[in-house]
């Protein structure tokens, strides 16, 4: 590992509310994630893992501490600058898929490229390519609502891939799927990490899902309780 890590959190806190009602969702987090890692963030609900995910994904900013993404101090960036980071470097996969329901799979995939200003023909080609990577070439013209849950999540993964991001954040990607489909999705993510060296940060509370990742980070009460990387180093 050379130079600064892709993601670097130093003493990051996130406090909701003020005064007596203030609640610390994150109580001082230090975390480095290097390029090409596959990290599972685990923890019970309320442990701060979703808050951490939102901050890592540049959707939210920390209350205290610093977050450097590719060396840039995210806390100092404007809303639009963070949108640019998401546009060019970050892909999201959500538990609820979050596709545009009445829009075809292909058009869903074109969406991130639209905001990148990619021309129509190139958008279409890239969308088809990404669909092929998740094994849904024949479903391009179906609307999201017409696809099964597993297929929707594959489209969502393809949408995260289509803009060739540096890192993919997957927030409970298997939460709405049955066991068989969950393992299909996880195999897909694992192969993406291995073949394309795509950095993946996965949030889950299931041990067998987290096991697909090389590294497990456990959150409890807004702090990192254990990190398999440090354990191995120790």
């Amino acid at each position: 590992m050379t130079g600064a890590p892709l993601i670097q959190l130093r003493n990051v806190t996130k406090i909701y509310g003020t005064g007596e009602a203030a609640v610390a969702a994150l109580a001082g987090i230090d975390l480095d994630i290097a390029d090409g890692e596959f990290v599972a963030v685990m923890g019970p609900s309320g442990s701060g893992k979703s808050t951490a995910m939102n901050i890592l994904g540049c959707l939210d900013t920390p209350t205290g501490g610093t977050y450097h993404f590719r060396g840039a101090d995210v806390g100092a960036l404007s809303r639009d600058q963070r949108a640019l980071l998401r546009r060019y470097y970050i892909g999201f996969v959500f538990q609820g898929f979050n596709l545009l329901k009445r829009t075809t799979a292909e058009e869903n995939l074109e969406l991130p490229l639209v905001y990148r200003g990619v021309a129509k023909t190139e958008r279409r080609a890239k969308a088809r390519e990404a669909l092929a990577q998740v094994g849904l070439s024949d479903r391009g013209h179906h609307t999201a609502a017409e696809l099964s849950g597993g297929q929707q999540q594959r489209v969502a993964i393809a949408r995260a891939l289509v803009s060739e991001p540096l890192v993919m954040f997957a927030d409970e990607p298997t939460g709405n799927l049955d066991t068989a489909k969950s393992h299909e999705i996880m195999s897909l993510l694992k192969s993406l990490n291995e073949t394309r060296r795509l950095t993946i940060v996965l949030v889950t509370h299931e041990e067998d899902i987290a096991a697909y990742a090389q590294r497990q980070v456990r959150f409890i009460d807004g702090r990192i309780a254990s990190d398999s990387l440090r354990k191995a180093a120790a």
Partner: protein, 400 residues
């Protein structure tokens, strides 16, 4: 990006066709009403000015009597000499026709018609710009000696002779008989709904001597040679008549000289004010239409909160989302504007033909309507669009 937003907007409208249609209706009605009001107003003005022009251009009319609010106080009639004096002493007049009118019954064979008999000179036809359709005007001798001859208005001709040619026939007017020498071309209704063709013209002297029994003149028709001199000529005539009628200085005129251009202007101003007033009322419905659009856009933003969250998460800027919703509002209201123009033009074309008004297309009003309806979209779409753009992506993604 903008082209894309247009496509998105059209798709969104297609997906919610009924809702978009009902929302747009407010704009359709508003724009349609404004267009119809302005078009019909212009038509009415054109019709009225054409009617007034049909009385004769550059026309001045002198009548005895004093105008008081609401009434015309009677005053002695003019005399032929007054008309002669005007002709002699006032520069810039191309024709002066003293006239006396009275009601009389015209009889031809077994038909009769109560009509207006006007005793005047050939200048009458000049000032009124009224050509003879058949036969001839009066000869100099007939005019001077007060021969019993007459020229018929179209209505009188039709009532007395039907399809027959009246020239050369002899008719009876009250107690005198007279030869028909000519027929006037039809002029139609005047602005005030009067049938201008319901008259019978005889030499002035004939009427004075044989029907009226005096030398009074109750109207003087005059044509100004150059329109630019109208005001000056009118002042000269007024000064001359005051002198001849011995009106004390400081006292009000006991006669009136009307300038037809003034009447035209007055009517134009009146119809203009009326049109503006009706258009303003119609414009209020545009405003209401705009509020409707704002309302529906707010609902749409709430419904599509999750979509907005997705767009923001994958890297849309605030202004991308703002633009998307703004364009949707503008497309909706501009579509309403275009439909409104079609409805307004079709409606006013139908109304114009029903009311027998000319159909006056005002392109500048149509351009204004398009611009205004798009402006309504921007003005009323901005607030909902900004609300969408300012959404917190995390909250928006959590929205059900």
């Amino acid at each position: 990006m903008i082209a894309n937003a247009f496509l998105l907007a059209l798709r969104e409208i297609r997906n919610n066709l009924l809702r978009a249609g009902l929302t747009t209706l407010g704009i359709v009605i508003g724009v349609g009403a404004v267009i119809a009001m302005v078009t019909l107003g212009s038509g009415a003005t054109k019709r009225v000015t054409a009617d007034i022009a049909s009385m004769g251009r550059n026309l001045l009319i002198a009548v005895p009597g004093q105008r008081r609010p609401g009434t015309l106080v009677a005053a002695p009639n003019f005399q032929v000499d007054d008309a002669l004096a005007i002709r002699r002493d006032v520069d810039g007049l191309s024709a002066v026709a003293p006239a006396v009118s009275r009601s009389a019954v015209a009889v031809a064979g077994n038909r009769n018609r109560t009509t207006q008999v006007t005793g005047t000179t050939n200048d009458f036809f000049t000032t009124r710009e009224w050509p003879i359709a058949r036969g001839r005007a009066f000869s100099l001798a007939e005019d001077r000696s007060g021969k019993s001859v007459c020229v018929l208005g179209e209505t009188v001709r039709r009532e007395l002779f039907g399809t027959q040619d009246p020239v050369g026939s002899r008719i009876r007017v009250d107690k005198i008989s007279c030869d028909v020498v000519g027929v006037l071309s039809p002029k139609g209704q005047s602005t005030f709904g009067q049938d201008q063709d319901d008259l019978l013209v005889m030499p002035l002297k004939t009427v004075q001597r044989r029907l009226a029994g005096n030398t009074d003149v109750n109207m003087i028709w005059m044509s100004v040679a150059r329109a630019s001199e109208t005001t000056r000529v009118k002042d000269d005539i007024e000064r001359l008549l005051r002198e001849r009628r011995h009106v004390a200085s400081g006292a009000a005129d006991d006669f009136q000289v009307s300038d037809m251009r003034e009447v035209t202007r007055m009517v134009e101003t009146t119809t203009g004010i009326l049109t503006a007033f009706l258009s303003a009322v119609a414009a209020v419905s545009l405003l209401v239409g705009g509020i409707g659009i704002m309302n529906v856009m707010l609902v749409s933003v709430t419904e599509r909160t999750r979509e907005i969250g997705i767009r923001l998460a994958i890297g849309a800027h605030e202004r991308d989302v703002l633009l998307q919703f703004l364009i949707e509002a503008v497309v909706m209201s501009a579509l309403g504007g275009v439909l409104g123009i079609i409805v307004g033009l079709a409606g006013s074309a139908a109304a114009a033909s029903a009311l027998k008004l000319p159909f006056v297309l005002r392109p500048e009003i149509i351009a204004l309507a398009v611009a205004f309806s798009a402006g309504v979209g921007v003005a009323f779409g901005y607030f909902p669009a900004r609300r969408a753009a300012r959404l917190d992506p995390i909250e928006a993604l959590r929205h059900e």
